[in-house]
């Protein structure tokens, strides 16, 4: 069956240059390094990874808050008037059209609300920007009702609300212009579990009600598993594995995915055999001067120490490659490590 893709990301790259004192580039931070993703209409697409893996850069590129170095983001005919257009080539007018059809929810709900604006103005701001001010008040009330808030909250400031309520306000604002796609950047990681559950339920309800497509970014695997239909695991700017959620959770293919799943503490299955990733998250910096790059089979002293500590502990381990490679190393003998594909 052909799947309906609403957004197709092709070989997207975003490199931030690292400069020395004289202003010449000596290295690149490869925040996105050739990402291919197809986002299906009406479903939830999850992106998961550790800090520095490029999830947030991906979000910002999707919203065109940063310009990518190369690659394309193709829009489908679901976006009115933008069929087949590449996001990076939109004219100013088209960009306004695009912004009306995509909403965003940020991680920190307090920071995402201007403390000096009333809720009425915050939720209604997209309406004002795009000139849809007739029936302003009733529209804003309707938006608030959608997320479980009401008319009595119109004339309040953000600091009068609890964390969960603030996130509801952010969601209401994101829905103001009837978007097709909602980008959710760790929407619940600042919230307690009970409030998180409320927000997740709300998001599910809204998805059904408005036929929304979600791009759900998170580092929390249990939330991702609950919310998403399809899932991509990112590591150092690359997608290492992309699969339907159930498939990925029950039959992970990539060693990194396996280790990530194993590292996530789960209280209902604590007896499983563990796989641990050793060492720190490697830096995504790639030196342009080859001689500064480390050998792929080199492991750090830290990793060596941890290996020693784990011996005889019934724990499998994976050594992260020190090079910016997605494929980790596996210990073959005491001294030798091999790249695992």
């Amino acid at each position: 069956m052909m799947r309906e893709y609403i957004i197709q990301i092709k070989d997207l790259r975003k490199h931030f240059p690292v400069k020395n004192v004289w202003g010449t580039d000596i290295a690149l931070v490869k925040a996105l390094d050739g990402v291919d993703l197809n986002i299906e209409e009406g479903k939830t697409f999850g992106i998961v990874g550790e800090s520095g893996c490029g999830k947030t850069t991906l979000m910002r590129t999707l919203l065109r808050l940063v310009e990518p170095t190369s690659g394309s983001v193709l829009l489908s005919d679901q976006f009115l008037g933008l069929k087949g257009r590449n996001l990076e080539n939109l004219t100013n007018e088209e960009l306004r059209l695009f912004r009306r059809q995509i909403g965003v929810v940020f991680q920190d709900p307090m920071g995402a609300l201007n403390p000096r604006m009333l809720i009425k103005d915050i939720v209604g701001e997209p309406l004002v920007i795009h000139g849809k001010t007739e029936n302003f008040r009733s529209k804003v009330i309707e938006l608030l009702n959608n997320v479980g808030l009401g008319e009595e909250h119109l004339y309040r400031y953000p600091h009068e609300f609890s964390g969960g309520q603030r996130q509801r306000i952010v969601i209401a604002r994101a829905l103001a212009l009837d978007p097709k796609v909602l980008v959710l950047d760790e929407p619940t990681s600042a919230l307690d579990v009970s409030v998180q559950a409320q927000i997740l339920n709300l998001l599910n309800d809204l998805q059904v009600k408005f036929n929304l497509t979600y791009v759900f970014i998170s580092h929390d695997l249990s939330v991702i598993e609950y919310m998403c239909d399809r899932l991509a695991v990112m590591y150092l700017g690359k997608v290492v594995e992309e699969a339907d959620t159930e498939e990925l959770f029950f039959n992970p293919q990539h060693p990194y995915t396996k280790a990530l799943l194993s590292a996530t503490p789960q209280f209902f299955a604590p007896d499983k055999k563990r796989i641990m990733i050793l060492g720190d998250v490697p830096s995504p910096i790639t030196y342009l001067d080859e001689s500064k790059a480390k050998l792929a089979t080199e492991i750090t002293v830290q990793e060596r120490l941890e290996i020693k500590a784990l011996e005889g502990k019934e724990i499998d381990y994976i050594v992260r490659s020190s090079l910016n490679e997605v494929f980790p190393l596996k210990k073959v003998s005491n001294e030798h490590y091999a790249r695992v594909k």
Binding site: E50, A197, E225, M227, F267, F268, M276
Partner: protein, 343 residues
């Protein structure tokens, strides 16, 4: 090991008195990892700060007793309390970067604990190996101040030289000569007992290259390393009890797994008691033996890990477990808006 009885703590805020703890009872046995879980504002961190009287100025313990190895430490002297902190109970905090002093090297920060609580061992080690206990203080200021003095002197000398009055610059020249002379007279000094013991404690938490790490500043280390340093610091005073306040919340999952493993290993090696405070039920399930669940300043349930997850008794525990996504896609059982109300 640690026993808290009917502890009540109040905070005085702008809007009146807030009861943060409302009669907390818990006991951590010798050599066990005890978990304390709860949501934001349930009072789990306040419990540990109250126990060691580390509350901010606005907070105040109004009732209850805290027993450490049978000794009542609620109303002991400030002096005894300082012996306990770091010496008998070590604490690690949530965000290691902000919990470490940004302008002191790791060596200085761990060294402080050793000088306070391991003085005898330090002297023993020094006399055994015939090395100084502490590095004898050089007669010098911080490099910043040294530099300023030098820079000011040089700029004034050159200023007056430009204006053609060399003699006016003489006093500044004199200062520079003094500084150079001082540096010449001072020689390098060997590793002290303190340096060696700091490196040993770093070695214990599986940090590579202790010498280099000891001389670095917190921001130069990665998050996982910083938390290891915090653990090393908490253990440096040979504490028999470790309180870990959300030790892995600020870390990535893979690093979190490493740190939890480290805590487990050390606990087993030293047969310590650990009080692990967290909001993450998964962390508790993987690490602890017994758990207490906190809600609104009270312990609502206390049991072994298996029992509490398989057979929760208290409605709040049940609600909390229901709120966590567990694989399936069925709707999470929570009220649509608002709080739990009067559970």
């Amino acid at each position: 090991m640690l026993e808290i009885k009917d502890l009540k703590t109040n905070f005085n805020t702008y809007d009146g008195v807030v009861k943060a703890l409302d009669g907390v009872n818990l006991s951590v046995k010798d050599g066990e990892i005890f978990g304390l879980v709860g949501e934001t504002g349930s009072g789990k961190s306040v419990t540990c700060y109250s126990a060691l009287q580390l509350l901010p100025k606005t907070g105040e313990v109004v009732e209850g007793t805290v027993l450490l190895n049978g000794e009542d430490i609620t109303y002991v002297s400030e002096r005894r309390l300082r012996e306990i902190r770091g010496g008998e109970v070590g604490i690690i905090f949530q965000d290691p970067l902000s919990a470490l002093n940004p302008v002191m090297t790791i060596n200085e920060q761990i060294g402080e604990v050793l000088t306070l609580h391991q003085d005898k061992e330090l002297r023993q080690k020094a006399s055994d190996n015939d090395i100084p206990v502490y590095t004898s203080k050089k007669f010098s200021f911080s490099p910043g101040i040294e530099f300023t003095v030098l820079a000011i002197c040089i700029s004034f000398i050159s200023l007056f030289a430009m204006l053609g009055q060399f003699s006016f610059g003489l006093p500044f020249f004199f200062v520079i000569v003094l500084m150079l002379l001082r540096d010449y007279l001072q020689q390098d000094i060997p590793d002290s007992a303190l340096d060696i013991m700091v490196m040993e404690s770093l070695d214990k938490v599986k940090l590579p290259n202790p010498r280099q790490i000891a001389s670095s500043y917190p921001h130069e280390l990665s998050g996982g390393m910083q938390q290891r340093v915090m653990i090393a610091m908490a253990l440096a005073g040979k504490a028999k009890m470790l309180i870990a306040d959300e030790p892995t919340t600020a870390l990535d999952v893979t690093i979190q797994a490493q740190i939890l493993q480290l805590i487990k290993d050390i606990q087993k090696e030293e047969n310590m008691s650990v009080l692990l405070i967290t909001h993450d039920l998964g962390v508790v399930a993987e690490t602890c033996e017994r758990v207490a669940v906190m809600y609104k300043g009270k312990i609502v349930e206390e049991n072994t890990v298996n029992n509490i997850f398989k057979n929760p008794q208290h409605p709040y525990t049940k609600a909390l477990l229901n709120a966590i996504p567990k694989g399936g896609k069925e709707r999470l059982k929570v009220p649509d808006t608002g709080e739990y109300g009067s559970i």
